[in-house]
């Protein structure tokens, strides 16, 4: 079943065309990688899907519903969750409060004013923190975590909302090889609960965890399909070699 679909999405910034008629399809329970050389339009496509950028042309569908003109909060409520490329944890809040903030997002305002759900959410917060190996650091400020730990915290915050599709923009950027491996291990179990669209430069990482890939070059889709097929594609190799 098709869960997330981008149809002929284009995005221009003045005279620069960042994306041109890009198509993308993510199926239910699928891990889908979005790869391409620097400046190929990967992050722009991800931002158009998340609502951070408005496409110049094209349509974005989530579960068959057109969300092209839907605001960022409504997209989040519809089941899209984004982890930014640059870590965007709330540095002055504790690790625990960062996850609480993500988890309580759909609570009604009066309930938040009375702090009604805080106790009920505790167990799930601790579950997420332990799953991402942050349990022992729950009371520390998020700003003092290492870069890798901040990335994990962000992923746990994105997952806290139990999204239909999790969008990850370069989740292993700046991580050590050990942290990259650990991130892959941490992501695999979420396959049961949601689909994943991931932008990543590290091809070894992405081919290990993704079922399918879409390759972008100069704003256009070069190839799309199962990981093994795309890996062996001559066009994809050419696209990467041209930028090497």
């Amino acid at each position: 079943m098709n869960l997330l679909e981008a149809r002929a999405v284009s995005k221009t910034f003045g005279t620069l065309t960042a994306l041109s008629n890009a198509d993308l399809l993510v199926k239910q329970g699928e891990f889908h990688g979005l790869i391409g050389p620097n400046g190929s339009g990967k992050s722009t496509l991800l931002k158009c899907i998340a609502g951070a950028e408005v496409p110049t042309q094209g349509t974005i569908l989530l579960g068959g519903r057109d969300i092209t003109a839907v605001t960022v909060p409504e997209r989040a409520r519809a089941g899209l969750s984004l982890k930014f490329q640059i870590t965007a944890v709330l540095a002055q809040l504790s690790v625990y409060d960062n996850v609480l903030l993500a988890l309580q997002a759909r609570e009604p305002m009066p309930s938040l004013m009375l702090s009604r759900s805080r106790g009920a959410l505790h167990e799930r917060i601790m579950y997420l923190l332990s799953r991402f190996r942050l349990e022992s650091r729950r009371d520390e400020l998020a700003g003092v975590l290492s870069h890798g730990e901040q990335q994990w915290l962000e992923i746990s915050m994105a997952l806290a909302q139990q999204p239909k599709v999790l969008l990850l923009d370069e989740p292993t950027a700046g991580m050590s090889p050990h942290e990259r491996r650990a991130t892959g291990e941490l992501l695999m179990p979420i396959k049961e609960s949601c689909s994943l669209l991931i932008v990543e430069h590290d091809l070894d990482f992405i081919k290990d965890i993704c079922d399918s890939l879409t390759v972008l070059d100069q704003g256009q889709v070069v190839e799309s399909g199962p990981t093994a097929q795309v890996q062996n594609s001559k066009r994809v190799r050419e696209a990467y070699l041209n930028h090497a």
Binding site: L101, R106, R124, Y127, M157
Partner: protein, 348 residues
Amino acid sequence: MPRTHSTEFSRHHVLTWIELGLLAAALILPLFLSDFWVLFSTRVLILGIMALSFDLVWGYAGILSFGQALFFGMAGYCTALLATKVEITSVFVLLPVAALVGLVVAFLVAAIVIMGKRPTSFAFVALGTLTGSYVVERLARGWSYVGGQNGIPSLPRLTAAGYEISEGPVFYYMTLALLVLVYVGLRLLVRSQFGLVLAGIRQQERRIAFFGYRTQNYKGIVFSLAGLIAGLSGGLYAFHEGFVGPGQLGPVLSTQVVLYALFGGVGTLVGPILGTGLVELLSFHLSQFWDTGWPVILGLMLLVIVMFQPTGLIGFFVSDRERVGSFGRPSQQGRPTPHSKEPERVVP
């Protein structure tokens, strides 16, 4: 030596002690003061309530408002008109009306400058509120129905069940009670899960929107609530001073409140009240000492504080961690937590 987390936590209750100390001092103060200083202290408490309204929007929600005087003054004018034209003097009518006027005017301003479909910029809100404050002050100066340049003088005293509330200890304690009520309400709010959302908006509004929060709605509600508080203080001020004038609507008073908060320390609630008292005291004593040049000295002192101590005077005593707070969650230190399997879905 760098400050460690354990030392941060050891200072975790300083804010509470400062709050309790100031409350105790405020309770016994009129017993030791002359009539003049009781009046002076009452004015400080009233302006302190207004400073709380600014701290809520700026210190907690990150909305820079230069328009708090607009809600303060509008509430003052409306209640003054009720008292002089309709002869209503009951405190149980006038103060709720003042708060309501502040709430409604702030909501209207928020609808224009904050609650659009897309988030508005920091500068747009600051300039929008400043302009609103300026325009309404100019209108009041030119409108004879509300007294023009002279405002509305000789307001009758507030009454409660036939008893006149004269300026002095009675007015002081009534104001103190209202200040404590507003303070406790705000403290509960900013340390609640709602306060956590405000802290998120202040730090990274865009990030918070990606969680699904309609941030403009949160900001609009907080701004309106701050308007209610400013309106309440505006009503109190009008009847304490016995008049309302255009100056109570304009950018000068709005900016003065910003300075109170910056001087004392924003994002702490108690800081802006402390700042109000200290700035007013300094202004009074400096004006006795040098009647023409005192604003220059005061301005320089404020500049030094803002430049070299951005967390205000309260920042000397209270750690950043305590200022932000932990939103009142019960301590889980040392308690084993079940996490072997995913718990039941708890988010609707």
